[in-house]
Symmetry: C2
Subunit: 197 residues, 2 copies
């Protein structure tokens, strides 16, 4: 082999090295998982990825940019339930979201993104754009309920989703994801009745 023993990543010419990019993202995610946002520094990521700091700074303008990139590279679950009933759709939506955040890294990473967005304006803008897009997507099951006549015409599907998502955010940000099924059921009943109009 040409590079025996400790094979180091080198430049592959005047172009971005995808291996380095992947190693950096992977290291960043691992650090976020293990030490949280507090340990998430360019320095730490570079060390763990065996990458040079200039390499990171070349491709990501800020800590927030790298953090957002990590978040966007998370694989996301389907969040548009379709059980045929608005009330059970709401339960399914919240249960899936809570589970997605609780199991795995997504919750910890998303908390970090939200925290970063309170400091970095670019992160705020990116987060806002992201959630608005997500709300619009998830609103689909409310629109379906409207089509079925299960929800009144005057309700805004996006606003309804925002209500659910806001509830979930609050639980996430205060470390209260302990998925109480009865509570979710009561909540779903409340909301679905409200949407019925």
């Amino acid at each position: 082999m040409t590079n025996a023993g400790t094979s180091r990543r080198r430049s592959i010419g005047a172009q971005r090295n995808p291996e380095s990019q992947q190693a950096i993202l992977k290291a960043a995610e691992a650090i976020l998982m293990e030490d949280g946002l507090a340990g998430f520094s360019i320095e730490a990521v570079a060390r763990r990825a065996h990458a040079g700091k200039p390499t990171i700074y070349r491709w990501w303008p800020s800590r927030a940019a790298l953090l957002l990139d990590v978040y966007h590279h998370q694989k996301h679950v389907e969040r548009v339930p379709d059980t045929g009933s608005l009330e059970t759709d709401i339960i399914a939506f919240l249960t899936a979201l809570f589970g997605y955040w609780r199991d795995g890294n997504a919750g910890a990473i998303f908390r970090s993104v939200i925290a970063e967005a309170q400091t970095d304006v670019k992160a705020t803008d990116a987060l806002r754009a992201y959630v608005l897009d997500r709300f619009s997507q998830s609103a689909e099951f409310v629109r379906r309920a409207q089509a079925r006549g299960e929800a009144a015409d005057w309700v805004s599907p996006e606003l309804a989703i925002e209500l659910l998502a806001g509830f979930a955010w609050n639980r996430l940000l205060t470390s209260r994801l302990d998925d109480n099924p009865e509570e979710l059921q009561r909540l779903a009943r409340q909301i679905s009745l409200g949407l019925k109009g």
Copy 2:
């Protein structure tokens, strides 16, 4: 005068100096307002307050502790409306909350507290305890609605408030406090119908 010109604060004996405490809290709040959480360091607060760092470390065990103290020293508005109607109570609640956060410093400081709670576990615990207490207080107007028969017995007033507060948090954390009255009205209508049961 005994201390002409630049009158310096000195020890007043083997006891805490309230003037120093106040100066530190005031400086901390000013920094949060002007530079946000990014510029909020013990070093910066000490400089601005003309205080020694050991004085701060003696009375506040961490940055998070000082931050929470600043937040708790904010004067808070009344958040338990009583208009006689559930729907208008909801509108009043959200309008007051949005206004409280938008005008003045409370919103910026609260965003900082939430961000800090995603990093510091003590801050998470303090925030959780705070919001649960607040939910319980604000739930009063929903309880009144229940007593009037405007809300069903099976709804949880705290859960209803959590829904409203979660919505507000989401708007705050994504910098979307631009108080659209029509939107709030639609939301209030939705929710009050749901609570009616």
